[in-house]
């Protein structure tokens, strides 16, 4: 376990923190955004901000794929699930996400056949075992997850399965980052790049952020020291007037990504002209749909989809949280009307959502801060 200790070593963390402080320009305020739910988790769980000087804030972007699904798409999925002979299959994370008219769990209680699966391959297996039923897989996730859906569709096609389709809600992270950079709400100094998405897309596609917008980006691992080191690398770039893509997580992320994964996505899916993101609105080319060649596996062509837009509940400020404009605890209903048990917004539903992460772990951070300043 020597390796683990290395990534948790409090002495190393303090040394890094001191070095981080020395790189900060006096009086300057730095804002770095991470766009990965796993990073959000580590930041709150380990109180990473406690190690940072006051001038640095870490803001959380739209890094949770469950959180960004708009309510109208949940309603569409429930509409499909309510059709005759349909078995809807979904990752467990989606089950409690509220639509305009309830969640998957609510629809299941009313009689819809909705089943949790671990993998799209399990959904395909259900289709093969139930030839007289129409089995739909609720495809969600960033580039990390899209290859799995793509591989499953290719396998279904090769096996001649005709009762399996995908309700494709896969989203792509780069257009969302661009939308945030173009938004006047937030001034950012750099990005902590997503670890697992980058195993698929590699590091090169981020170069528009560094070249066109002049913001440094460091792809980071998930250990506390990974995140501190990434903040250090961002500050070192800023201090030297550089804005480059750097890979702190090279032990897992290849610079060029995974060519096979990108190939299977490209063979089966294509960018949509636009897609609605919860909180961010419509973003061009920010999601994937099935290609014409795989129309037989596209739930949107097989079923009549209502496609309605549903506004978020008025009290819910997930939009501001997803854009990093608000911290979770600054939302009016955080921890009172909205909790993981009775979520109003998606950020509180998924364990990777910023609100749920802060609700579960953030209180420890606050206590730690209090102790430190006592």
């Amino acid at each position: 376990m020597r390796f683990v200790d290395e990534y948790r070593d409090a002495g190393k963390a303090r040394a890094l923190a001191a070095s981080i402080a020395s790189l900060c320009e006096p009086g300057r305020h730095y804002k770095f955004m991470e766009v990965c739910g796993g990073h959000t988790h580590t930041i709150y769980k380990h109180g990473i901000e406690d190690y940072l000087p006051e001038g640095i804030s870490l803001v959380h972007g739209p890094g949770c794929p469950v959180c960004v699904i708009p309510m109208g798409r949940v309603d569409d999925a429930i509409h499909i699930a309510s059709q005759p002979d349909v078995i809807m299959t979904s990752f467990g994370d989606m089950m409690r996400v509220p639509g305009g008219d309830g969640s998957f769990f609510d629809a299941k209680a009313k009689g819809a056949d909705i089943r949790m699966v671990y993998s799209p391959l399990d959904a395909l297996k259900i289709a093969q075992q139930n030839p007289d039923r129409r089995v739909v897989f609720m495809g969600i996730g960033f580039e990390t997850t899209a290859p799995s859906t793509a591989m499953t569709v290719l396998r279904a096609a090769a096996a001649g399965v005709t009762n399996f389709s995908v309700f494709c809600n896969h989203v792509t992270i780069l257009p969302a980052i661009k939308a945030i950079l173009d938004s006047p709400d937030l001034r950012l100094d750099g990005f902590i790049g997503p670890g697992h998405v980058s195993t698929v897309i590699g590091c090169r596609p981020y170069s528009f952020i560094t070249d066109d917008y002049g913001k440094p980006l460091v792809v980071a691992g998930f250990e506390p020291l990974d995140l501190l080191q990434s903040v250090h690398m961002l500050l070192a770039q800023l201090a030297a007037g550089r804005s480059e893509v750097e890979n702190q997580y090279g032990r897992v992320v290849p610079w060029d990504g995974n060519a096979k994964a990108l190939d299977v996505i490209g063979r089966t899916m294509e960018p949509r002209p636009y897609f609605e993101w919860r909180g961010l609105g419509f973003i061009s080319h920010s999601a994937l749909r099935m290609r014409d060649e795989y129309a037989a596996f596209d739930a949107e062509r097989i079923f009549d989809i209502p496609g309605g837009r549903v506004a978020d509940p008025k009290a819910c400020q997930c939009g501001e949280v997803l854009k990093g404009v608000l911290k979770p605890w600054e939302c009016k209903v955080f921890g009172t009307a909205c909790t993981p048990e009775t979520p109003i917004g998606t950020c509180m539903v998924s364990s990777e959502g910023a609100c749920a992460a802060y609700y579960n772990f953030g209180r420890f951070t606050r206590e730690r801060v209090k102790e430190a300043t006592r």
Partner: protein, 89 residues
């Protein structure tokens, strides 16, 4: 589903892009088709996401990641429970 969990390859299945992996004692089949060129073999460690091996990692990285995941609580337990229910073949 957002998690990627490390597993040790126990056996490469013949004729199919599948491997039997061991994830903290749970043994299940996962698809290794996305790591075609990696020459995977028994004893190798991979990061697994929704039934697919996403990247090959070394043992030290795997152990560190497992410790990190065990510390996050419910989300990790749910992921292992979901894996246990999986019947990829």
């Amino acid at each position: 589903m957002c998690l990627a969990i490390p597993g040790e390859i126990v056996e490469i299945m013949p004729d199919r892009p599948l491997a039997k992996v061991d994830v903290t004692g749970v043994r299940r089949a996962v698809n290794i088709g996305l790591l075609d060129g990696e020459g995977l073999a028994a004893g190798d460690w991979v990061l697994i996401h929704v039934g697919f091996a996403m990247s090959k990692i070394d043992e030290a990285e795997a152990k560190a990641t497992l410790t990190l995941l065990e510390g996050i609580g419910a989300a990790y337990d749910d992921e292992i429970d979901a894996l246990r229910e999986s019947g990829i073949d």
